[in-house]
């Protein structure tokens, strides 16, 4: 039983990271109906920037903030260069471009910094607290705390500010939003910036949690976060969080109970299952295409 709760806690940490990434996926999908393949790679860039800051002697908080800032800019650039020209093109062309962007970041990074795996210097005391036999590391506090702060911040932006209102309007109906005087292009850019910033934070957290930073590190977390977004209902922000945490916990339980070889397979089994059983996701509502 103790083991069970331990795994659940591990899953909660992992799941919060997935949630942070999934939120970015879901926001972008909600607003332009495009799977942003490069999202996981933005995360990787964030991890590298954070690493650079940390190696330069900065503390944890400035490292995360600068990584978020850099990636927000990167997200806007990506949107401008690889996605915006294709907004009215076929879905297939847009997806292809997104894949190109993803490959570019991965192998560009590899060409510049080599494929070598790097690790973060010690940024916070590596202490383990013991609550009734359940071990909680400082890392876990860091992850849960950061996620909580960012999620509250995001909720504030989306539901309490004018920009957030514009984002919701654009994702609901682009043309109507434009007629209401909303600048659709800049709203989409802001969405990319926000999503990318969250991914960057997740990147730094992953770098610290697994103690490994390498050019392909964004691939699997990116794929899994997409599954989390679908699980929660694509386009739905609370759904992405719920989906992320559920996925993290399932994965931790599976690998904790001897199936570590299949931990990567869990996410895709869930994807297939959810598509078969409830394709709109847990919190998603049915969206019918207008004919």
């Amino acid at each position: 039983m103790q083991e069970f709760f331990q795994q659940l806690l591990n899953g909660l940490s992992l799941g919060s990271i997935y949630a942070l990434i999934a939120v970015g996926y879901t926001m972008v999908y909600g607003i332009i109906q495009l799977i942003n393949f490069a999202h996981g790679d933005v995360l990787m860039v964030g991890a590298y920037v954070g690493l650079g800051m940390a190696l330069a002697g900065f503390g944890l908080v400035p490292s995360i903030l600068v990584a978020m800032l850099v990636c927000a800019v990167l997200g806007v650039v990506l949107e401008r260069v690889a996605y915006r020209p294709l907004r009215n093109a076929s879905r297939l062309a847009a997806l292809t471009s997104a894949i190109g962007a993803s490959l570019f970041l991965e192998y560009g990074m590899m060409a510049v910094f080599s494929p070598r795996t790097r690790s973060y210097p010690v940024l916070l005391p590596d202490k383990i607290y013991n609550f009734y036999g359940i071990r909680i590391a400082t890392k876990d506090f860091l992850i849960l705390g950061t996620t909580l702060v960012l999620v509250v911040f995001l909720q504030y932006i989306v539901y309490r500010t004018k920009t957030g209102k514009a984002m919701r309007a654009v994702s609901f109906d682009k043309d109507a939003a434009r007629l209401m005087g909303i600048n659709v292009d800049s709203t989409i850019a802001v969405t990319f910036a926000l999503g990318s910033a969250l991914a960057a934070a997740a990147g730094v957290l992953i770098g610290i949690y697994f103690n490994a930073v390498y050019p392909l590190m964004g691939l699997m977390p990116g794929l899994k976060a997409f599954v989390a977004a679908v699980l929660g209902g694509i386009g739905n922000i609370p759904g992405a969080m719920v989906g992320g945490i559920l996925l993290g916990m399932t994965e931790a339980l599976v690998s904790g109970y001897g199936g570590s070889m299949f931990r990567d397979a869990v996410a895709f089994a869930i994807l297939i299952l959810i598509l078969l059983v409830k394709p709109t996701g847990l919190l998603g509502t049915r969206v019918e295409e207008k004919v």
Partner: protein, 320 residues
């Protein structure tokens, strides 16, 4: 009209036999070095991969990123059949194709039934899982893979296998079944409304494509002696995607040219793998933005197209 078709077919056959004969002679007389032989074989396998992926991406309009995974399924299945079970090679090829098709069905049905755009993620994830499973299964050699596979594929197998694949895909595309796939690509709702069972055709194209990748995998395994999980990573899937995109979505001859072009490029750039991938990435973005139809669009290289390029306009004048 009929006679002209026969004439064309005859020419094509003569050209095919000439290419086959010349290369065969070169190989038997040791005029073609091992390096070139390797690349010629890779080119053939790439053509099969690109053409079968085009069936999914170009003709049906759904993005699959799992082609390397299906190729792996075909390769490992066929090797198990020949090496571990001791059955003849043709049976192994068949088994590889069937098993790849079955796996394709299991992945394709739930994802394609609903949202085609999830296929990209599902297939990418599937490809990686296949790799992870292969690394972990002792019976299949784990990360080192399987060594010492007998070379059962020769130029005859490869050449006519490639030609057969292309002919079958062409026949499929130019049949009522192929038209149904094209209709789905053009407008899925209208296709349904014209009586096309869109789920059936999307899954069919996907399963056929997977079987084709399985075919390529079994040829690959029985030529190169060795298969390893790392050979079938998602990078290979991306390579194939670039071939299809560069050649043109919906053009079989385009796929052939794309496959040849990329085979040459990878041979030239094999010492700069990162640079090669960055180049491919840029090619993908540029082709998506500026020329989503690829070099050839959905056109096929034909006598007519060539004569048009040659400045002879008699073929076009009637359409004015």
């Amino acid at each position: 009209m009929k006679e002209k078709n026969w004439f064309q077919t005859l020419i094509i056959f003569i050209v095919l036999f000439a290419v086959y004969g010349v290369v065969q002679l070169g190989i038997s007389e040791n005029l073609i070095s091992d390096y070139y032989q390797t690349n010629i074989f890779l080119a053939g396998i790439n053509i099969i991969l690109a053409a079968t992926l085009n069936l999914i991406n170009g003709f049906t309009g759904h993005l699959s990123l799992g082609h390397a995974g299906f190729m792996a399924v075909g390769a490992y299945t066929s090797v198990v059949v020949t090496m571990k079970l001791g059955y003849p090679f043709p049976l192994a090829v068949l088994a590889g194709m069937v098993f790849a098709a079955v796996v394709g069905f299991i992945i394709g049905l739930p994802t394609l039934r609903l949202r085609g755009d999830y296929l990209a993620i599902a297939t990418l994830g599937f490809g990686e899982i296949i790799r992870v499973i292969l690394v972990n299964v002792e019976y299949l050699g784990g990360a080192t893979g399987i060594l010492g596979i007998p070379r059962l594929v020769n130029w005859t197998w490869l050449f006519w296998g490639t030609v057969l694949t292309l002919v079958l895909i062409r026949n499929f595309v130019r049949s009522s079944h192929g038209r149904a796939c094209l209709a789905i690509r053009e407008n899925e709702i209208a296709a349904e409304m014209m009586g096309v069972n869109s789920t059936y055709y999307k899954v069919l194209a996907f399963v056929l494509g997977a079987a084709g990748a399985g075919f390529a995998g079994s040829l690959y395994a029985h030529y190169f002696y060795v298969i390893q999980p790392s050979k079938f990573s998602f990078l290979l899937s991306f390579d194939i995607l670039v071939m299809v995109m560069v050649g043109g979505l919906g053009s079989l001859t385009g796929s052939c040219v794309g496959a040849l072009l990329l085979t040459v490029l990878s041979a030239l750039l094999q010492n700069f793998p990162e640079f090669r991938m960055v180049l491919y990435a840029v090619m993908l973005i540029i082709s998506a933005i500026y020329r989503p139809q690829g070099l050839f669009g959905d056109k096929e290289i034909s006598a007519q197209l060539l004569s048009r390029w040659g400045g002879i306009f008699r073929a076009t004048s009637r359409s004015e």
